[in-house]
């Protein structure tokens, strides 16, 4: 493969028709397991290989991809297509607008001449048999099938591995090999003409199969089946302004939608206006906008151990970085790429350009982005004891946010009411709705490092054609004051 990619790159450079080019070969292996009760619904193994060729000429991109990766004639044909459509684009652009794509410059020291990153794993998930994987999900079914009200359990496991070679006309030679996995299941109970469900949300990570074995997949199922039944009998929440204590299992998605997406610089600049939307967190707010209370700190870290965006190097060839996005409540940074960083006066990209396959161009994606733990020692029990009247929220539910990332509404999977410092009983049908920055400004307590947990998003959709991407969001349990609940 190495020889073929270099041949294509040399062809592009020798053509004299490019200002910049990169060639990416990626092979991706995925395994998706879907079960229902003790039935194997789907056991899918997919491999996908190909080459994407990206060419910049006169400030216009041309990108062509092919799955005929082992045939030099095919690769050169698509290299020519990339050159040609960049030229066409430049023609149309010249006649109509002076705006152009530019890349943030790399110094000689910043170009990764030889880069390599591999997810540290102990057990290769692709060497574990289907039977061993399925037996974990079937053991959950066996454990809960006779529980009161039990009707159905739907389980999934996902394993993904990709191996990429990235060569650029600037001299980058980068290889990364990434493994990630996820497991979840949902238990549905039916009783007295009503139904409810409770979900085990595994914590997706870049890791080997050892991470699946380390999670309490079967152990948690007894409690979850009981809690699904409790939800059936729970009181419906009354719409009101309430205090909330939100666990990381729920808060990670709120972080993703209300902080992660608004601080993607391409979105801020309007590059997603036609689909994924724009952002209220516009550049003039950098350094002065009160995004959250002064205990709120968000840090991006694409070197986070097990992080879903921990891939070593992005698809611009930039090594993974750690940086602040919100510091002491103030907006101080964005996730950026080489296309966007210089547009707000930054001298370097934060390395957030990622494509979901060889077949599409990389775009500005959310990094691993976490709410940093509280600096004062605080346990969850102490936080509950310190709270007069609130709702404790666990697990993901529905999620929706407007296109400028202001008005959001989230659900959850399990809700408990807190009165006078104690949990007094379950609630159902809770949603919470707020304006992003008002929500984060209302945060008045965050548990400490001991309670900090990562969760993650595996299917973050963005771009046209739509691409999916994965990233981790960590948090400790946190309290938010006076939030609207129950409006749905």
């Amino acid at each position: 493969m190495d020889k073929l990619l270099l041949e294509v790159l040399n062809f592009l450079v020798a053509s004299g028709k490019i200002d910049y080019a990169d060639v990416r070969y990626r092979e991706t292996f995925t395994e998706d397991i879907i079960t229902s009760n003790n039935v194997l619904k789907n056991y899918n193994n997919h491999d996908d290989r190909g080459v994407g060729i990206r060419v910049l000429k006169d400030g216009c991109w041309g990108f062509a991809s092919t799955s005929k990766f082992n045939d030099i004639d095919s690769l050169l044909k698509y290299a020519n297509i990339a050159i040609e459509i960049a030229k066409q684009a430049s023609y149309f652009q010249n006649h109509n607008s002076s705006n152009r794509i530019k890349l943030t410059k790399l110094t000689a020291d910043q170009i990764i001449r030889e880069g390599k990153y591999k997810t540290p794993i102990v057990i290769d998930p692709f060497k574990v048999t289907a039977k061993d994987k399925l037996n974990i999900l079937f053991a959950v079914h066996e454990n809960v099938k006779n529980k009161q009200g039990f009707k159905r359990i739907d389980g999934t496991m996902k394993f993904k591995k990709f191996h990429q070679f990235f060569y650029s006309s600037e001299g980058s030679r980068i290889e990364n090999e990434i493994y990630l996995n996820d497991v979840s299941y949902t238990i549905t109970v039916v009783e007295d003409g009503d139904f409810q469900s409770r979900t085990f949300f595994g914590i997706p990570k870049t890791a080997g199969f050892e991470w699946i074995l380390a999670q309490p997949i079967v152990e948690d199922s007894t409690r979850l089946a009981e809690e699904a039944l409790i939800k059936l009998k729970a009181s419906k929440v009354t719409p009101a302004k309430r205090d909330l204590i939100i666990l990381p299992s729920n808060l990670h998605l709120t972080i993703h939608e209300s902080v992660g997406h608004p601080t993607e610089l391409d979105r801020v600049l309007g590059w997603e206006a036609n689909f994924a939307g724009t952002s209220f967190a516009t550049p003039e707010k950098k350094g002065n906008f009160q995004y959250g209370s002064d205990i709120v700190n968000f840090r991006a870290d694409n070197n986070l151990s097990g992080g879903l965006a921990t891939i070593g190097f992005d698809d611009d060839g930039i090594p993974s970085k750690s940086f602040d996005i919100i510091k002491d409540g103030i907006l101080v940074g964005y996730s950026t790429t080489r296309e966007t960083a210089h547009l707000i006066g930054e001298s370097e990209s934060m390395g957030c350009n990622r494509a979901d396959s060889y077949a599409l161009m990389p775009i500005n994606r959310i990094p691993n982005l976490s709410l940093m733990p509280g600096k004062k020692l605080l346990t969850l029990e102490e936080l509950i004891a310190d709270t007069e009247d609130a709702i404790l929220i666990d697990g993901r539910g529905s999620f929706s946010i407007d296109q400028q990332r202001l008005n959001f509404q989230f659900g959850g999977d399990f809700f408990q009411e807190i009165k006078n410092g104690k949990i007094v009983g379950p609630l159902r049908d809770v949603t919470y709705q707020a304006i992003s920055y008002e929500f984060w400004r209302s945060c008045d307590a965050i548990c400490d490092q001991r309670f900090w947990q990562t969760h993650g998003t595996l299917n973050c959709g963005k771009g046209e054609p739509s691409q999916t991407q994965h990233m981790t969001h960590g948090a400790s349990p946190a309290r938010f004051r006076n939030i609207s609940v129950g409006g749905a």
């Binding site: 899918n44 991109w61 705006n99 139904f195 929706s400």
Partner: protein, 448 residues
Amino acid sequence: MIKSIKNFNFKHADSNFDDYIIKYQKLERGLTRFASNMLTQNIVQEKDSIIFTGYKDRKKITLSTNNTTTEGINDLLARTQEMLKYSLEDLEYVPSYDGSENNENEVSNEVSNEVTTDKASEKDEQEKFLRMKMVGAALSKVRTDANSPLNLNISGTAESAKQFVAVATKNGARRFLKRSFAEYSNTIEYAGERAALKMSCNKETDIDYLNVFDSALEDVKLIVKKGKRSFDPGRYDVLLSSRATSDFMGVLFSYGLDRRSYDEGHSPLVGKIKSKIADSSISIYTDPLSSKLSSANFTSEGRPIKKHYFIKDGILEDLPTSPFWANKNNLKEWSMGNIIWEDNNIFEKDLLKQIKRGFYIKEFWYIRMVRKNDFTLTGMTRNGIFYVEDGEIVSSSNHFRWNESPLSVLNRIVAFSKGYERRSFGGFDNYFPAILVKDFYLSSKTGF
């Protein structure tokens, strides 16, 4: 006609698997994207893949690869055989379709060759040009308007794609589909406001991209001209454009409204089959052969899709039923292929005249399930919301979050219009009208 998928060794598969389903897909796509008045992406993509589901001793596994050379496919079959040993029995196994109702279609090398030769690439040249022409037309408006008081910021996408799908089963099903897809969309920002429009259809040459641009421009100018007023959340009469209707009602068919959930008691429709769930003027059905919206007439497993009513004259007729559930319960199996709402000849703008006081909503955004028990959804309005009094647009409005159930809304539809085609590359093609709804719940407002 040659009864084989290119490079696939049917004899080997016949002798080594008790049953199998093969799906071959080829995609050729071009896409040009623009934003901030410049081209930001420009893509040409080709990809083909084989998906093979094999059964042995009732064990099941699916493998796929995009290495569709003879060696690649033979390797796929060998790996399937090996991995089947470690799979488990499919307790809901149903034999693959026997093709008894689709003998007219045969997988054809002639067709699969056509989409893989350079002839197709020659056609691509023209299509690339047309995509660029669409985008160029939009950018040229910006240039024109740069010298006028209008200072537009435009973004959008022009896409064209060709897809070939072939399905074959051990039991004799032979299906193939050739389709093309084209879409043009743009969002226009003017004086801090935005409006957008999208058009999708089968033929790229049918895309009226100039009209898509001009209509969006007209809308954003109207928003600016009429000014924006702030309204409180509440229940209002609303006119949902056909696009908003498609976004909202289409969700009914993507969140698992199926016969099994109904029979097991975890569906919001429990007990309602053969009952009235909508006004008697409303009928919704699937029909791949409809002249309004032709689409694939087979599932990914090669099973036929035929005309079937979901709602007829306001009565819930039936819910999609899987082959396993149908066999087990002596029901008729059926699947949705497209979604068609039986329309009339009233135009969307005529419905506007029927609003005494309410909103005209052009587009929805970020729709998600809130509560499965009654199918409550949430979402936002986006790119065009107008306040209407006595049938006339009075002003623009702040945008709202809404919480509503399409099942509940079916009972509050006052009128609907002529339907509009909306193609989807990956989801259901649909044909929905604009609908006028009483007391739609706009639950909170946002900051713009």
